[in-house]
């Protein structure tokens, strides 16, 4: 009993299926959980920005992260190399799985047999957006991983409010930018 209308609606909402998103999300959660099980730390990705600045700046705001800055570098290095491991395996087609939907965004290119990927989104959007993300995540006490993954996983009301706030504002922003004809 498959209703064609339901199928059509599902295809509209999820043109790339849900498997790659669900599997990827479970792995993101697993990565955070591995750290939590071993250390008790509910890690977020954006504190790395301030903790790393403590290597080069004496601003009092950054000094509070001196004790954690080395392991935060290790966490971020892991994330970068995890992305590279994905590129060298699934993205390069060395490992194939029906759970992965390649998609059509951006540009693929090859270096030394590894299929890499680069964005088409304009540099000014990345730079200006990055500045606002850098300010907002630190003032707002968390980002998509700190609030979104660990905070929501903790059923923290602060994090739920944070996530709802940045999600709504991001939706409006992206829609306005698209309506103004900025693409990609």
């Amino acid at each position: 009993m498959t209703d064609p209308v339901v199928l059509q609606t599902t295809a509209d909402l999820f043109p790339n299926g849900i498997a790659r998103y669900a599997v990827g999300g479970l792995l993101v959660g697993l990565g955070a959980l591995v750290i939590y099980v071993g250390t008790g730390i509910p890690a977020g990705a954006s504190t790395f920005l301030e903790s790393t600045l403590s290597y080069v700046s004496d601003q009092s705001r950054f000094r509070q992260y001196v004790a954690s800055r080395d392991w935060r570098v290790a966490f971020t290095a892991g994330i970068v190399l995890g992305g590279l491991a994905f590129a060298a395996t699934v993205q390069s087609g060395v490992v194939t799985t029906g759970l992965y939907e390649p998609g059509t965004t951006g540009q693929l290119y090859e270096v030394a047999g590894v299929t890499l990927w680069s964005t088409d989104v304009q540099p000014w959007r990345l730079l200006v957006g990055g500045v606002l993300v850098g300010i907002g995540t630190r003032v707002g006490k968390g980002c998509t991983s700190g609030h979104g993954v660990c905070g929501v996983g903790s059923a923290s009301k602060t994090s739920l409010v944070g996530v709802v706030t940045f999600l709504l504002v991001a939706v409006v922003t992206a829609q306005v930018v698209a309506a103004l004809g900025v693409s990609p």
């Binding site: 299929t115 990927w117 989104v121 006490k141 922003t173």
Partner: protein, 152 residues
Amino acid sequence: MSERHPLFVPLIFVGGLIFGFGLGFSQMARPEVVLNFLQFEDFGLLFVMFGAALVTGVGFAVLPRVRDRAPLTGDVYERRLKSFDRNVLVGGAVFGVGWGLSGICPGAAYASLGVGNVTILWALAGMFLGAYLQGYWRSRATDADPATSSAD
């Protein structure tokens, strides 16, 4: 901190590897995919956020009941609870404008660099600049008036 367990940093690195692989696999490391989600063209990204929060949610709820302390630090298992104030709304809104404009957030940006997206260095440079600016402003405000200081 000088008597850290020798596996402390390696374990965090491994956790980061899994985390980054997941961001690559889900394609959340691609700004286009995030923008397509925010423009209501592909809702799949909901499964990344809720899938991840589901895993941490189960772990964070179960772990304190089976063990008292984390093996590598001796720390008590606690949930990630931060105090609520106006900053959560203001910062969240600023973050939202940036995320909606660029399609990239910090963790996804690190993973994006790993999948080969050299262009994302623009966003990473921006994030460091933004984090520095708020740190500069807040350090000055705190140094000028210690009473208003609040560690996040």
